[in-house]
Amino acid sequence: MVFLSRTQVIAAIGAVLLVLYVLDLVRRRKLSEEYSLLWLISTVVVAALGFSTPLLVWVSRELGIVQENSTVFAFGLAFSLAMLLHLSVRLSRLGQENQALARELALLRHDLEESGSGRAPAAAPAADRA
């Protein structure tokens, strides 16, 4: 029986707490199901590695990692990178959608100004909508 190292246990407990928190965020609708997917997969994998020493030893050996603890953190890091990439992609899409909205608004304002000839609506105070 291989004993669990302390770092391993800390990482695993942290991961379990994170899973619960992510689920609670989804329940309270602060996080959409779509975004929860990567979070849940990553934390479940880290927790599994942290709690199961045989699994951790086997994965470490297959990957040629000498220090088992590094395996846990390597996975954590890999998932963080995946998450950042995912967020960059979504952010790009959000930017494009935002532009499309602005273009649409320009067209609408033009039509409104034409039809209401003379009574051009003043620029809406954008701060109101924060």
Partner: protein
């Protein structure tokens, strides 16, 4: 109670091939119902073919998903005083001849959401095995939670009473309005009833559901169903 003002809401994404025949058929079979097409960022002439027929069109500036398009329609229906809204596919899969049967439970005041189901009666429709498994799973889940037999959780042919649309205009799934929606509505105290319908083949083009969808769908809907159970039910 037959004087319901009914709006048929047709979410459409790149449906210029199918939409004209769908609209013509609706006009011919159900002349008393108002139509509203919600064009969800189509790249083709979807909005144009609808306008050419004098049908009102709401255009979204980019693709938001079926649920979000439908929600836009609900909002419009509520603001314009409709008593009920029908969700109707643009691709011709739904038969307008069954519209009256779908609306009947609402007219009679028996329920708040009426669902056109392919499975209440044998209708010759056979889905692929994986999809059948999912349908059995989700209809079992919804039926157990709501204690009402719901056989077709993925049906896109439904009628919603005004009070349901009032809730849904603020809170509605953006992508798939399926099992989690039914659970959430049931827990709010809305009554549901299924009406047997038959579905036809889509007129043109292809279904938008892809491999990615079929992998993500069970995850999203299981999680969202679970969350709908854990969320405190609001009062209608």
């Amino acid at each position: 109670m037959s004087g319901l003002r009914v709006l048929v809401i047709i979410p459409a994404h790149d449906e210029q091939e199918s939409l004209p025949a769908t609209l013509d058929e609706l006009r011919a079979v159900a002349p008393g119902l108002d139509l509203l097409v919600v064009d969800d960022g189509s790249r083709d002439g979807t909005a144009g073919v609808a306008r050419a027929r004098g049908v009102r069109v709401l255009r979204l500036p980019f693709n938001l998903g079926v649920g979000a398009a439908l929600q836009t329609g609900f909002r419009w229906a509520v603001e314009h005083g409709y008593d009920a809204g029908v969700q109707f596919d643009a691709d011709g899969q739904h038969d307008p001849a069954t519209l009256e049967a779908l609306l009947e439970p609402l007219r009679a005041g028996r329920c708040d959401v009426s669902i056109g189901s392919r499975y209440v009666q044998r209708s010759g429709y056979r889905a692929p095995a994986a999809r059948r498994l999912g349908m059995v799973l989700f209809s079992g889940l919804v039926s157990a939670v709501l204690r009402v037999r719901i056989t077709d959780t993925t049906s896109g042919f439904r009628a919603y009473a005004r009070r349901v649309m009032e809730v849904c205009q603020h809170d509605f799934p953006r992508d798939f309005p399926d099992a989690p929606l039914l659970i959430a509505l049931g827990r709010r105290g809305f009554r549901m009833e299924e009406v047997p319908v038959r579905m036809r083949a889509r007129r043109a083009g292809r279904s938008f559901y892809t491999l990615g969808t079929s992998l993500y769908y069970p995850y999203k809907n299981l999680l969202a169903s679970l969350m709908a159970l854990l969320q405190r039910p609001a009062q209608p």
